[in-house]
């Protein structure tokens, strides 16, 4: 079966010839019309639309957006803040960058609609420090929107006021974790907070109720406000509604970003039909389906079990190519859809060296507050780098896995899981390669591609 057609609702104007990121172009394309209509509606109505839509957050965890909004403490009398999580940094993910660079007003419109729905008077866009150009574009776009009265005091004469400021990070991956982000926005080290009690919906920024939503999620909200939650829920599949943007990188012919109705495309269709298959003369070996912390999938392995289709339970027997690319199917086979970052590795890649690369990333990015994560991520890096650059031993795989097994569930935030999943999955699925590395290494060409 060939791949379904792309349905670009969020990336509609990305790479469109002649489309520019200024407000005039956005207005020519119907920009801010949804906001104009939305501010005439009841905020509760908008929240209901989002609940009906089934929209799941696009930052990585896939938490239902409507539920997140429903948890916000509205009785405390404290101001409610909204933070746009634009700290896109999960390796393999590169979708928000294009929204902010090429269509920033879509994000601003979605943000103001979400603020209006939740009675938020102050929003911050937390953009990663490595995107200085993106920050400048957003600041200019906000100024343009303010000049047209879409942002700022008394928006469109409704009496509703909302301000947006851009806040730049400074190179720390952990700021993508929502409570770490909040600490960072408060001017501190981005050490994530412990939940309970620090659920952002109750005790977030400045100990006030706070909503943290991903860039793409807020663009979906704009679409939902325009077309209604029910229409949105008909895109995709039940439980995985709307569209999903896949960022494909690594060893395929056509890496890039592709938007499809959620759950309608399989891994095989995405990699072979859409991305043109493996590079000439090579074959696929492994793929990480949802950002580098997602557990790796090995080509050739089978996934079997029962799943719900409508009201029935049916058997499934999938190869990697057959797996539908939605949150639930990927979770069912032991990995995750995460942020949509698909990293492909072909038969030229040595898995020990690939893991050493990933481990170097996580040890660099651990915030250091929980011992199992700080020490564990560092030792996983040291062991895997030693295997590559020093002496490798047959028992190193087992040693690595024993370190990884001691981290998850013992840390304040999900980074503990994120840093251990690659090691656990690489070693379970490519055990032979780890066991034999000390010998194989001697035969590998000295001028091979360096991964760490």
């Amino acid at each position: 079966m060939s791949a379904p057609a792309q349905q670009r609702i969020i990336f509609k104007h990305i790479d469109e010839p002649g489309y520019t990121n200024d407000i005039e172009c956005y207005l020519r394309n119907g920009g801010y019309e949804v906001l104009k209509k939305s501010v005439g509606r009841k905020p509760e109505e908008l929240i209901d639309e989002v609940k009906k839509s089934g929209l799941r957050g696009r930052g990585g965890a896939g938490f239902p957006c409507g539920v997140k909004w429903g948890l916000v403490d509205r009785k405390s009398g404290k101001p409610i803040y909204l933070i746009v999580n634009a700290d896109e940094s999960e390796p393999g993910t590169f979708k928000d960058r294009y929204i902010m660079h090429q269509d920033p007003h879509q994000l601003i419109e979605g943000t103001i609609i979400s603020c209006f729905a939740n009675n938020v008077k102050q929003a911050y866009i937390y953009i990663r420090g490595e995107m200085p150009e993106g920050a400048r574009i957003l600041e200019k776009a906000i100024a343009e929107a303010r000049a047209k009265n879409f942002v700022g005091p008394n928006i469109l004469g409704t009496g509703y006021s909302c301000e947006i400021y851009v806040h730049r990070g400074a190179g720390a991956y952990i700021c993508g974790e929502e409570t770490g982000l909040i600490e960072s926005l408060e001017g501190k080290r981005a050490n994530p907070r412990i939940k309970p009690p620090y659920f952002p919906a109750v005790l977030g920024l400045y100990q006030c109720p706070t909503i943290v939503n991903n860039v793409e999620t807020l663009c979906h909200v704009k679409y939902i406000a325009e077309h209604g939650g029910e229409a949105y829920s008909k895109i995709g599949t039940p439980g995985n509604t709307g569209t999903r943007i896949f960022c494909v990188s690594g060893h395929v012919q056509r890496p890039g970003y592709y938007e499809f109705p959620a759950g309608t495309i399989t891994m095989g269709q995405l990699l072979n039909d859409v991305c043109g298959g493996p590079l000439p003369g090579r074959t696929f070996k492994a793929v990480i389906p949802g950002g580098s912390s997602a557990k790796v999938l090995k080509f050739g392995e089978r996934y079997k079990g029962k799943r719900k289709v409508g009201a029935d339970m049916v058997d499934y027997d999938w190869g990697v190519e057959d797996v539908p690319m939605d949150f639930d199917s990927l979770a069912m086979i032991g990995s995750m859809g995460g942020s949509g970052g698909v990293i492909v590795m072909d038969d030229t890649v040595n898995m020990v060296e690939a893991l050493a690369n990933i481990n170097a990333f996580y040890s660099h990015e651990s915030c250091g507050q929980c011992t199992p994560c700080r020490e564990g991520s560092l030792w996983m890096k040291k062991i895997s780098s030693r295997m590559v650059h020093g002496d490798a031993r047959p028992q190193d795989g087992a040693l690595l896995k024993s370190v990884a097994d001691q981290i998850p569930g013992r840390t304040i935030c999900a980074f503990g899981e994120a840093c251990s999943w690659p090691t656990q999955s690489f070693i379970i699925k490519f055990k032979d390669e780890f066991d034999a590395y000390s010998e194989v290494k001697k035969t590998l060409p000295a001028d091979r591609r360096v991964l760490v």
């Binding site: 995107m131 660099h364 591609r449």
Partner: protein, 162 residues
């Protein structure tokens, strides 16, 4: 603190964005680093006084975030992405090329003072790997040939200045 007048202006403006002054720590560090090139001891005490904090509150932020530096760097900052997708596409070769072109080593200032070459973690442009951020501009698909071209450009600009 010796800064450009517009930096002082932007500092005063950005503090108003937050109900709590401490939130302006990162923005102030960015502004001062952009102006002065790095974060000096003086800058830390100055920011602390400005935001009514203790110097340790600022120092702990400087040491946590990789983008802040305590010492000057070369005239241009070349940041090569090191993470998986870029490495799979030859990111290490790209970094090596820059090092060779400027006779330098990662993390050091080149002997001519023109550049500091560095490895950084994922720059979120994995589809166009390998990528390199030179100062504030992202360069995509930087293979060895393109790395040499970019180096030549930087060298030519340096020559024109002299």
């Amino acid at each position: 603190m010796n800064l450009k007048p517009e930096t002082f202006q932007r500092i005063d403006e950005v503090i108003t964005h937050y109900p709590v002054k401490r939130s302006a720590t990162l923005p102030l560090l960015h502004l001062i680093q952009e102006d002065a090139g790095y974060i000096s001891e003086e800058a830390i005490t100055w920011i602390a006084a400005k935001l009514e904090l203790q110097p340790i509150n600022v120092l702990e932020v400087v040491t946590f975030y990789p983008m802040f530096r305590r010492a000057p760097i070369g005239r241009r900052h070349i940041k090569v992405c090191r993470t998986l997708s870029c490495a799979l596409s030859g990111g290490y070769k790209t970094c090596e090329t820059f090092e060779k072109e400027f006779c330098t080593h990662r993390g050091e200032i080149s002997p001519d003072g023109e550049v500091t070459v560095e490895f950084v973690e994922c720059l979120a442009s994995c589809g166009t790997a390998p990528v390199v951020l030179i100062d504030e501009t992202l360069h995509e698909k930087v293979d060895v040939t393109k790395a040499k071209q970019l180096s030549d450009q930087i060298k030519a600009e340096a020559k024109a200045r002299k």
